[in-house]
């Protein structure tokens, strides 16, 4: 798959993600079901492929955010949306792999195959202050720890073969025990017996999403992720980051299936170029996203050109800190992208699981290729 013509089921080869990073701490009702539903519906209606529910389990910094747990949010909004992909963020340091495997596999069942996992590891372990347990050592190398964690989770997802359930009323046989597998993992950080007590996720294996905070996590993304939002503050930086990601993926043996690279953007949309510049000038630039400034058609042309020239496979939109910019992107930029053929109409994606939408096949269960028992 070449990066310029990623066979996205969406058609057009441009993947749109929306990154949600919590709310201002002033409102106690920011996560009422009705508000959350409206937000998710707007994002879906706008034509986004994926909603990334970012997470950092602590209140900190000069501009603290409040949030709700991403699994709760994703599962709730799944009932109010039909085809929006839902990526949940979890830090490997603060979960048990068995619990995370259950949460993610269940979310994939509940969303009918629309779930993705953004597994992170913070080298600074900033949220560790909220997870202090005596007698529990911090991992010496959070990246190694996260890698083993992911390995365990992926093995647990395959505990049940797709045809393990018999549910035969006549004979009373409910399950074929030969098609249920312990994982018996004995590693550096984890000892997990399994099997998982959740049936295999509809997607088989959930897509792995990664939102870079810095280039430091790029080797992880290149080795493991299916969708990567690279960290960069301008177009040159994005180009460089996407190239390095692809080069690293080749080194990991993923030349045929490199991760999709997404540019982080903050769109500044206005009726005239001057007005857009004026809006943008009111706030200071952020280092982790590219400001894309202009009229709806200018912005659409810019985004399309990046994809056509193979810079990236799509965009992760971070809402501008200015009321009304989110809706303007949805109502004006996305239709301009559709007009240009940069993305297909959203309805075309409805029939796919998230993997299908990303152009990824459903993987076979690792146990299914084993020789079957004679009377199995």
């Amino acid at each position: 798959m070449s990066s310029t013509s990623a066979p996205l089921s969406r058609a057009g080869g441009l993947l749109l993600a929306y990154v949600h990073r919590g709310a201002e701490p002033s409102s106690e009702t920011a996560f009422a079901g009705s508000l959350l539903s409206s937000l998710a519906r707007e994002i879906e209606r706008a034509g986004f492929d994926l909603l990334v529910l970012d997470d950092e389990p602590r209140v900190a910094g000069a501009a603290p955010r409040v949030r709700i747990d991403p699994f709760t949010a994703a599962s709730f909004v799944a009932t109010r949306t039909r085809h929006l992909g839902l990526a949940v963020t979890a830090d490997a340091a603060y979960y048990e792999p068995f619990n995370l495997a259950r949460l993610t596999a269940s979310l994939d069942h509940i969303t009918h195959g629309r779930a993705a996992l953004n597994l992170v590891h913070d080298p600074a372990r900033a949220a560790a202050v909220n997870f202090g347990v005596r007698d529990r050592a911090a991992p010496a190398d959070p990246a190694r720890h996260a890698r083993e964690f992911l390995h365990v989770v992926r093995a647990l997802w395959d505990s049940w073969e797709d045809d393990a359930f018999l549910r035969d009323k006549a004979s009373g046989r409910f399950v074929d025990g030969d098609k249920v597998h312990a994982i018996a993992h004995r590693g550096e950080h984890f000892q997990v017996q399994g099997p998982l007590n959740v049936a295999r996720p509809p997607q088989g294996q959930l897509p792995l999403v990664h939102v870079e905070r810095s280039p430091a996590s790029r080797p992880w993304a290149a080795a493991e992720a299916d969708v990567v939002v690279v960290a960069a503050g301008d177009e040159g930086g994005v180009r460089e980051a996407a190239q390095s990601l692809r080069a690293l993926a080749v080194r990991e043996g993923r030349a045929a299936n490199p991760p999709l690279a997404l540019a982080p953007i903050v769109p500044w949309v206005a009726d005239t170029p001057d007005e857009a510049q004026r809006l943008r000038a009111r706030v200071s630039a952020r280092p982790d996203a590219v400001a894309v400034i202009g009229t709806p058609d200018e912005i659409a042309a810019t985004l399309q050109a990046w994809v056509v020239h193979g810079v990236v496979d799509g965009f992760a939109v971070l809402p501008a800190p200015e009321a009304g910019q989110g809706p303007r992107f949805a109502e004006q930029v996305v239709p301009a992208l559709v007009r240009r053929g940069a993305i297909g109409p959203a309805a075309a994606a409805a029939a796919f699981t998230l993997r299908g939408r990303l152009g990824l096949a459903r993987p076979a269960n690792r146990h299914a290729s084993l020789p079957q028992p004679v009377n199995g």
Binding site: G22, P25, S26, E28, T29, A30, F31, A32, G33, L36, S37, E56, P57, R58, V59, P64, R65, V66, R67, I68, D69, F71, T72, A73, A74, S75, F76, A78, T79, R80, Y95, E96, F98, N99, L103, A105, S106, L107, H109, I110, V129, N130, F131, G132, V133, R134, R167, K169, G172, F174, V175, H189, Q191, V192, Q193, G194, P195, N197, V198, A199
Partner: protein
């Protein structure tokens, strides 16, 4: 403090194949519902239309395919937190209970998961605290052993304390950045504050079950609802009185803690039809081979109680091995049997309406079936089932029940459509919800902060 009217509370336990091991084999029962979220939503909506207090999602942290024999619903199912959020989106009033085991979770995670559920459900979240009965769960969590009871409860006590304190310090209109916790205890060091805004209910409703002394203390101190498992009125009364007395020692009023035993109702328009369903369900269950003398049974998931004449002989105190299981039991057995054996015979008569001497006779197989399910089971027409519930309620053996549907969705619909209206007609059960939150259904106000309550107890 006395409470003007005691109210009956009803919860619904959701097991996708029913709470009877063979519930899924009835022709109309769903056998493939465990991962069908729309079906779970449907069942929850049926319970909500009947004004149930809550839907209950149980949990276990280990599995074994052998569970299919005794408990297929617990073998493989959806994780409860994600399920609960989806059910919240499909309902608007019913409380939603999530089981989470502190032994294998972090307090900050549970505080934010429960808090998040309380937000999306607009105040309907509830945490069922279990400390775990499955030894083999340890092997799924990088542990070499499952902690013994004392250690599990030491940990759980501090865990619950931290969770409630995190809820108290959550960001709110008055304190937008939240109040740091700075907890430095025996097991945990937690800085806080919680990153989830203040909960609509302030504290999620707390449930707990258990019979050990430590469990009763935790429940009496922290829980708003206690699940119980006593099979008959005398034992349930003793448990009920004990919990309410313990709660009083923590300054809690009788109405502040509801005790709800589990109850499996097999209900149909007529008694005969109900007994036929009960018999049919049990008829699906195979008998186990008889044990050799001196054979030692191995425990583990999925074994359950043996269904054979050897096990029955132990219960009866009479050797009945060698009989045809389908044969009628001789009337003389009643005099020979132990006290437990006589209770077993009486219970069998209560469920099946068959007796040792009447026109319809009890078989050995009937006794094996009863012994295999000694929790509270009532078989009958809607009035008979309502009588059973009322008797327990009036005699203070229960404040209500956690209803275990033997098969789904039929047993849920039968109870909701046939028994609930009888309970409402008798003035025992609500005609409509008292308010929008789970705390409202239980008649509980918003909780004071931990600090306030600690001072109250000292006074």
């Amino acid at each position: 403090m006395s409470h003007p009217t005691r109210r009956l509370h009803l919860g619904l336990m959701f097991w996708a194949t029913g709470t009877h091991a063979a519930g899924w084999r009835l022709p109309d029962a769903r056998e493939d519902a465990a991962f069908d979220i729309e079906f779970l939503q449907h069942v929850t909506q049926v319970a909500e239309r009947a004004r149930f207090d809550f839907l209950f999602l149980g949990d276990r942290l280990a599995t074994d395919p052998r569970l299919q024999r005794t408990n297929p619903a617990q073998m493989s199912r959806l994780e409860p937190f994600t399920t609960a959020a989806s059910l919240a989106a499909a309902t608007s009033r019913i409380g939603i209970v999530v089981t989470a085991n502190p032994t294998y979770y972090d307090p900050y995670s549970v505080a934010r998961l429960m808090g998040s559920l309380d937000h999306v459900s607009a105040g309907r979240a509830s945490w069922n605290i279990v400390t775990g009965a499955d030894d083999i769960a340890a092997a799924n969590f990088s542990r070499t052993e499952h902690w013994e009871t004392g250690k599990r409860y030491d940990w759980a006590d501090e865990f619950v304390d931290v969770v409630k304190a995190l809820w108290d310090g959550a960001p709110s209109a008055e304190a937008p950045a939240g109040v740091p916790l700075d907890h430095d205890g025996r097991h945990f060091r937690i800085a806080g504050p919680l990153d989830v805004p203040r909960l609509p209910q302030r504290h999620a409703v707390i449930l707990h079950a258990g019979t050990s002394d430590r469990s009763r203390e935790l429940g009496a101190r922290e829980a708003d609802v206690i699940f119980a498992g006593q099979p008959d009125i005398p034992s349930a009364q003793a448990y009920y009185a004990d919990i309410k007395q313990r709660a009083a020692r923590y300054g809690r009023g009788e109405h502040e803690i509801a005790i709800l035993p589990g109850l499996t109702p097999i209900v149909a328009p007529t008694t005969e039809e109900a007994v036929a369903i009960y018999d049919r369900l049990n008829g699906f269950l195979p008998l186990d081979p008889e044990e050799e003398a001196g054979e030692v049974r191995k425990g583990g998931l999925g074994r359950g109680r043996r269904r054979n004449l050897s096990a029955l002989s132990e219960t009866l105190g009479v050797d009945v091995r060698g009989n045809d299981p389908g044969a009628a039991v001789a009337p003389a057995l009643y005099e020979q049997a132990s006290e437990a054996g006589r209770r077993l015979i009486d219970e069998t008569t209560r469920r099946t309406r068959r007796s040792l001497a009447g026109p319809a006779r009890i078989s050995y197989r009937d006794l094996i079936d009863t012994a295999g399910a000694m929790g509270a089971i009532v078989v009958g027409n809607p009035e008979e089932v309502a009588d059973f519930i009322q008797a327990w309620f009036d005699q203070r053996a229960a404040d209500g029940f956690n209803i275990f549907p033997a098969y789904v969705p039929g047993a849920v619909e039968a109870f909701a459509e046939r028994v609930v209206p009888v309970l409402q007609r008798r003035g025992l059960f609500r005609l409509d919800y008292e308010g929008p939150t789970f705390r409202d259904h239980l008649g509980l106000g918003l909780p004071g902060s931990r600090r306030d309550r600690d001072q109250l107890v000292r006074l």
